[in-house]
């Protein structure tokens, strides 16, 4: 968390031209990180998906936790866990979840409905990430409320668009 804040504050100061030695590893990731956060990134597909899921309801940033490594050395297989704070009783439960990777070629990573036998709104899987980006998880509660959680993922080796071997 501290390193991410450091990078963000340095970029904010326009310090992307700091010497390699000063930032060490961070500078290798710096330009990529800066590019992902800079203007010009096309979030249309992601915004469409969010609109479609939310169906006009307001989106509240709460109760949704994405657990993913902050620094990912291989974007081909990224373990991820999404947990939602919810009692998951018959009366009070979350109904569905959508994970978005806004800068992947296909932004919807997966969607899931939680059936009556799902006792905990907590899913782990492995995903592919094409580039450094902010992952978004949207959750629909039984009462129609839409909750959201986000997590930044720094990817050093991209997935999805690599040439096949052999």
């Amino acid at each position: 968390m501290k390193r991410r804040e450091t990078i963000e504050s340095l970029i904010a100061l326009g310090a992307t031209r700091l010497s390699f030695s000063a930032l060490g590893l961070m500078s290798c990731l710096g330009p990529n990180f800066a590019k992902a956060q800079a203007t010009g990134v096309d979030l249309t597909a992601s915004n469409e998906a969010i609109k479609e899921f939310a169906q006009g309801k307001p989106i509240v940033q709460k109760n949704v936790q994405i657990d993913v490594a902050s620094l990912i050395d291989n974007g081909n297989t990224v373990p991820i866990q999404i947990g939602v704070v919810s009692p998951m009783t018959a009366q009070d439960r979350v109904v569905s979840l959508l994970l978005l990777a806004p800068l992947n070629p296909v932004v919807k990573v997966f969607e899931t409905n939680f059936g009556e036998r799902c006792a905990k709104a907590d899913i782990s899987t492995r995903i592919r990430l094409a580039t450094t980006q902010t992952l978004i998880a949207l959750v629909r509660n039984h009462d129609g409320q839409i909750w959201q959680g986000q997590a930044e993922a720094l990817v050093t080796l991209a997935a999805c668009i690599e040439p096949a071997d052999g």
């Binding site: 070629p105 997966f110 059936g115 799902c118 899987t125 995903i127």
Partner: protein, 107 residues
């Protein structure tokens, strides 16, 4: 039939929250890769994964190309009575696989 590994506790107490893990071998070809001659390799993915505990649904997932090869999914079920956990994967090119395991509940 693709190889699959499903694991969960051998014996659960009534009302216990148990973790269920399912892994299946599948390339999850995204459709964005190119082969040696520069041609796009066609998309071939598992598109859905569902789990039922008896008659009732546990989870129903729609998978997209951004899921990694050999999809691994971990979720939670509350053990109630001994019964079947049925796992179904469906995908392109007519891919369909069902696995049934018994969840044993009670000492």
């Amino acid at each position: 039939m693709a190889n699959s590994i499903i694991s969960f506790k051998a014996r659960a107490e009534p009302n216990e929250l148990i973790e269920v893990r399912a892994l299946i071998a599948h390339p999850m070809e995204t459709g964005f890769r190119t082969n040696d001659s520069g041609k796009l390799v066609a998309r071939n993915i598992i598109e859905s994964f569902t789990c039922h505990y008896g008659e009732a649904l546990v989870i129903d997932m729609k998978l997209n190309p951004s899921i990694a090869a050999n999809p691994y999914i971990r979720f939670f079920v509350r053990a109630q009575s001994t019964g079947p956990l049925e796992f179904v994967w469906r995908g392109q090119q007519g891919f369909e696989q069902r696995e049934i395991r018994t969840l044993t509940v009670g000492s």
